[in-house]
Structure formats: C-alpha cells, structure tokens
C-alpha cells in the first residue's frame, strides 16, 4: 500500500458563467497544486455554481489553495469541509465483462453493494453505484476480479451536515 496522502475537500461557491472552470483549473496548474477530483454544477441559485474539489496535500498547501482560490473574482464563498461533519457522495458507472459464465457472480456483487443494473448486454453488464469514494473504491476492487471493461466516476460532491449552509 502506498502511504496515504492527506486529502481535503474544498467547497466553493462560484459565479455560474463560462470560463470559471478554466480559471480554477488554471490556478491549480500554474501554482503546482494537484486535484484529485473536481465536480461542478449549478446550485439552487442559477447565478452560482458549486465546486467540490478534493485536493491532496499538507496543511500549508491547502491554506495556499484556499487563499489563492478566494482571490478569484468569481469565487463568492469558499469552505474547507471538515471530514467529521461532511456528507459526501460519488457516482460510479462501470461496465463489467460477463463472459465465461461470470454474469451471476457480477450480479451478486452488485446486489451486495446495492448497485443498480443500468444495462445488460450480450457480453457485459453496466452498473451504477452511489456512495462514499471509499465504498466505490472497494466495489471497484471487487469487480476487478471479473474484469472491468470501462468505468466512469464523477468524483466526490459534498455538503456540510446539519442546518448550516455555505450561503450563511
């Protein structure tokens, strides 16, 4: 096992117009910050998008990331989501090969993890799983034995638990 890199979930409320994603991505690349995953979509207020960015790195790096992000004109609000009080989820679509009589075992795994079966074809099935990134890692690990043909995952999206919101 590789040494675990600390990961931080940053939630940013940004203006919802074209170019914002480029500004954020450009900032990360030119300052040498890495991104594990980034999700973005319009919020309850169509003026804003919410970005959930998972960033690997130590505290010093995260501080710089947040301060640099906060400087962008398009950034309205930025939060570091605390692991303990964060609700997070990710969506996975995965196509698994089912030749050699493996269909039954794949479907059994899907059922065990509560994955949905989205498509059944001659030589494969496509499954959908929503859950924590760790759950999805484990699920993928399990399916690798059957043979994954391709997969797509959205990256983590997250909100803080409780009544509080980023708008406050």
């Amino acid at each position: 096992m590789q040494e675990q890199v600390k990961r931080t979930v940053i939630s940013a409320l940004v203006d919802n117009h074209s170019g914002v994603l480029v500004r954020v991505a450009g900032l990360f690349s030119r300052r040498g910050f890495n991104i594990d995953s980034l999700t973005v979509c319009e919020t309850e207020n169509p003026l804003y998008s919410r970005m959930t960015i998972v960033v690997p790195g130590d505290y010093t790096t995260i501080k710089q990331v947040v301060r640099q992000l906060a400087k962008l004109e398009d950034t309205k609000k930025i939060l570091i989501l605390d692991k303990e009080t964060t609700i997070s989820s990710e969506l996975l679509l995965v196509k698994v090969q089912t030749e050699n009589g493996e269909r039954a075992s794949v479907l059994k795994t899907a059922q065990a993890y509560g994955a949905k079966i989205l498509d059944t074809a001659a030589k494969s099935v496509t499954l959908e799983l929503t859950g924590s990134s760790q759950d999805i890692d484990v699920f993928i690990g399990h399916l690798e034995r059957n043979g994954i043909l391709e997969l797509a995952r959205t990256g983590m999206t997250a909100l803080s638990a409780g009544d509080g919101t980023i708008n406050q």
Binding site: G19, R23, G26, Q64, L72, E73
Partner: protein
C-alpha cells in the same frame, strides 16, 4: 432617443466617469468603432499612439506608477491583443493598476478562427486580476466600471476587457454614474495587532523590510515616522525604493541579491523582521529557508495569499498597510535600539565604485544625473544598469523610481518613460537603459519624437548583454554564450533618424557637459553613454545563497 449610445461611446463615457484623461494604444480593425468614438471625444481624452502595442502597455504601466492612477491601454484584436501580453504580465507581477481594452471579432465570428481573432481572455487569465469578454452590450458599462474597481482595490493589478466589434457598434441606453469607490479592505484584526505588538515590544533587534505595498498604499511617510519613533531600521525591496529618503539614518538601502551588505546582514541577524507590503521574492529571500532565520516575522500585506507562501511568518496581519501601521503605532511607545543600530552600522560599507577603467563609470553617471536634474522621475529597463540605478541613485520620495521588478522585462523602460511623462508633464523624466534593453523596444523613440516628450534617455552602452554576461563570468567560467552581439548600432545616428537629438558620452569628462546639454534641450534626447563591458554589479548574493555568502569583490 438621445441617450442611446453605441458601445464604443459608452466605453469612452465610462472612462470619463473614472476621470480618465489619457489612454495609450494603437488602432486596428476590431477597434475602429472605439477609435471613432475617441475621435469624437478627443477634447476630453488624449490618446497617445505608440509604435507597438507592447510600448502602449508599458506606457499605461509607467503612467500608473508615476501618477498612482489607473493606466489605460487599448489595442485591436489578434496581434494587437497578444502584443499587450508582456506589458500586462509586467503590471501583474508588480501589482500596478491597469485596464487593458482589446477589440475582438464580432460575437458571431468568435470561435471560428476568424481573421485577427484570438482568445485573449484565455491567454491573459494567469496575468490579470480578472478579465471579461463582453457579449451583451447591456453589461458593457458595468463591466468597465467593475474593471476599474478591481484594478484599484486590495492588491492592485491589471484587468482586461475584450469587446467584440459588433458590441461597440450596437446602441443602448446609457446612464452616467459616479465612479465607485474602491473596495474597502477589512480593518486589521485586533488579535493579530496585539500579537504583533507583543513581538515588537520584546524585540531587541527589530528591522523593517518594506516592499512595493508601501508605495501603493501611499504610506511612505507613516512608515518612516513609525521607524523613527521606534528606532527601527528600514531596508527596502527594489519596488519600495524611494519610500524612505536614501540618506535617512535609519535607511539600510536595498535588500536582496544586489542589496547592500548591511541590509542583508541585518536581516540575517535581526530578532524581528517586520515585513511591510512585501512578498519575499526570490530576489530578496534568495534562500527561503535561511532568510531571516534568527527572527520572528510579522508579515503585513493586503493580499492574504502572500502569507506563508514563500516564508512562514510568526504573525500575519491582513489589511491596508497604512491602517495597520496606524494601529501598531497606537500601541507602542517610542523605543531605543541604539545598540542594535550600532551593530548594523558596523557592517555598513560604502558601495564600491563600479570599476576603474577609462570608461565613464555607471555610478558616476548616475550621481551626476542626481546632481544636475531637479527631482526627476527615474525609469529603468532591466539588467546591470537597472541594478546600478537602484543601488546608486539616492531616491528621496515614492513614485520617483519606475522599474520592472517581478517580471524583469527588458524593453519596459522606454514605454514606461513615455507613460510617466504623459502623466507628469512638469517633471523631468530620465530613462536609464542598456544597449540590450533599448534594442528591444527602441521603436518607441518615434513616440518620443511625435509627442515631443522631453525624456532624457541614457543608454549605458557596454556593447554586451551585461547582466547575463556577468552570470556567465561568475557561474559559467567565462563562457560568453550569445552575450557579445557585436552590434553596430549608432545610437546618436538612430536618435537623429527618429527625429530627436542624440548625444554621446565617451569619457568621464564628457559626463557633466553632455548631461547639462541634454537637460537644457528640454526635448527628447538619447545619450549614448559608453561604459566598460567588464563592469559588474556588486554586491551579489548567489541565487539560493544566504546573506553570509554575499560576494563583494570580483
């Protein structure tokens, strides 16, 4: 309806709202409507036409540095826009307020690789505080207004507005508005102020490292008074030169790679470093881990992202420097650090004369300019001449030394001098350049000639690319690769070809009479001043080295 105006007219109206009276630029296809409006408003806005858009961008930058106001530059789409890039980057690196306006092809031609189309907002994202492309005329006026607010608020910097040609032609209703105030920065946090006060009170060997923030916050006087009350010596980055008079007893001079020995040693030995509007550039903190390593650090800056970016501080205070100094001042009684000041004095060595060849010495030329010119604005290009000017010119007040700090842009000087002269018509502007730097944008001599800007250009002509050559001498065993270009340019003849006067200094005896002649002209003039190709910039801390590794002899 009579309050219907074209986008181009609205743009100019919005510039007038901001009290803009001078813009720099170059016309072209995509900005024809804007230039037509400039023609219409020519009694209210002066447009300075340069030879090349880069010169216009540097002029807007020099204008802003000299006047403290936002510089404005206009260029057409495509090559016009890309030619601005170096100038915008230069302003960005030195936090200079600038609004750059570019034309673009009409909205329905965008994204089709149309003639002279370029994605300038994409290109300039990393070198602007913010940028816009205007796709709806209804948003134009507020975008222009916001651009000025952003350029001027917090840590200042350039903002670009890209306007497609059809937007400048369309009409809409325009309602005049007063220029908005810049955004107020948050007041400094009391807790941080108290932590800083404790450190200052405990310190036996404090020192201030002042940066360009002192100039942009307009608080030079406050900083010096603060230093005087507490008897804290002040070293300045190159960007802060002029914030404390050169001959002030507390002034340690410039800190960093080519700074004074005693400023650098003081930073090494102090127990408290108060960093005022500076950012620990690698040309100051040549070694991040060794810089001021025996000191606690109080970092004051308006840009929160500067804290702990390069060097970690003990306390950081975010806010406008002027307000922070006032707050700190309130909590402190006068102090005496004479013992510490004596220690620093012990390290003070007069700067060495540059060299002893038969050529005029650069330091001698610089000292003569100071003696003969009345309160000039001194502009430089980049290289050895720039460092000599920073080291030897005894600056007395802020905004009298305009130089490319962060980006180190050779070719900056002539454009910047034009901008400074346009903004400060009553001041003598002197440009120190090098033959290398001057060659990069010498076409702007034509702008000096057209407008009669009485800039004195002094080319420190050593016939080589001196700074790079010096590094080749020190770090590459005299392997002079491409630094001796064997150019045959006759700068006196060149001046004449452009329609201005040209003079030459060949011996030390020429310096004074030629300078006097140049000053008396009150017209643009180029002085070709021959200096030795072997003159070095010293002292010098090698990159990555610490203050103790400073080289004083070569």
């Amino acid at each position: 309806m009579d309050n219907q105006k074209t986008g181009a007219q609205i743009l100019i109206e919005c510039l007038l709202e901001q009290k803009v009276d001078t813009v720099f630029g170059y016309p072209g296809g995509a900005v024809l409507n804007i230039y037509d409006a400039l023609y219409e408003y020519s009694d209210q806005i002066r447009h300075v036409l340069t030879a090349h858009e880069q010169g216009a961008a540097h002029a807007a930058d020099g204008y802003a540095r000299a006047t403290g106001r936002t510089g404005v530059v206009i260029a057409t789409s495509g090559p016009g826009a890309t030619n601005l890039v170096t100038g915008i980057a230069n302003a960005y690196m030195d936090s200079i307020p600038m609004v750059a306006i570019t034309g673009n092809v009409a909205v329905d031609l965008l994204g089709r690789d149309s003639f002279q189309e370029i994605d300038i907002t994409g290109i300039t994202m990393p070198i602007t505080k913010h940028n816009y492309i205007v796709k709806d005329i209804e948003t134009l006026a507020d975008i222009v207004r916001d651009a000025f607010v952003i350029a001027n608020s917090g840590r200042k910097g350039p903002v670009l507005i890209d306007i497609p040609k059809d937007i400048t032609a369309k009409k809409t209703k325009y309602t005049k508005k007063e220029a908005a105030e810049k955004r107020k920065s948050l007041p400094p946090k009391e807790k941080k102020i108290n932590l800083a006060l404790e450190l200052i009170k405990q310190s036996k060997k404090p020192m201030i490292y002042a940066g360009g923030g002192v100039i942009s916050s307009e608080c030079s006087r406050e900083l010096v008074t603060f230093g005087e009350r507490l008897q804290i010596p002040v070293a300045t980055s190159m960007m802060a030169l002029g914030c404390i008079p050169a001959d002030h007893p507390l002034n340690l001079g410039m800190i960093g790679m080519h700074g004074t020995v005693h400023a650098n040693l003081a930073a090494h030995k102090c127990d408290l470093l108060i960093v005022a509007g500076a950012r620990f550039s690698d040309r100051v903190a040549t070694s991040r881990s060794n810089f001021a390593k025996h000191a606690k650090i109080i970092h004051i800056d308006i840009d929160y992202a500067e804290f702990d970016k390069n060097v970690v501080s003990s306390v950081h205070i975010a806010g406008d420097l002027k307000e922070v100094i006032a707050e700190l001042d309130k909590g402190l009684s006068p102090a005496d650090h004479s013992e510490w000041l004596t220690v620093i004095e012990g390290h003070r060595k007069p700067l060495k004369k540059v060299d002893h060849s038969d050529f005029p010495h650069p330091d001698f030329v610089i000292e003569k300019v100071n003696a003969l010119c009345k309160d000039p604005i001194v502009v430089t290009d980049v290289g050895q001449h720039q460092m000599w000017t920073a080291q030897y010119y005894p600056f007395q007040s802020p905004r009298t030394f305009l130089t490319s700090g962060g980006l180190g842009t050779m070719g900056f000087g002539l454009g910047a001098a034009i901008g400074a002269q346009a903004g400060m018509p009553d001041r003598q502007v002197v440009l120190f350049s090098g033959d290398g730097s001057f060659h990069m944008n010498l076409h702007e001599t034509t702008t000096l000639a057209s407008y009669g800007f009485p800039v004195i250009v002094i080319i420190m002509n050593n016939s080589v690319l001196g700074m790079v050559r010096q590094w080749q001498k020190v770090f590459y065993g005299n392997r002079f690769s491409q630094t001796d270009p064997h150019r045959k340019t006759d700068f006196v003849a060149l001046a004449k070809a452009f329609g201005i006067d040209g003079l030459r200094i060949e011996t030390p005896e020429d310096v004074e009479p030629v300078l006097k002649q140049a000053i008396a002209l009150q017209k643009p003039v180029i002085i070709d001043c021959r200096i030795s190709p072997d003159a070095n910039v010293l002292p010098m801390i090698p990159p990555g080295g610490s203050a103790e590794e400073i080289i004083t002899e070569m």
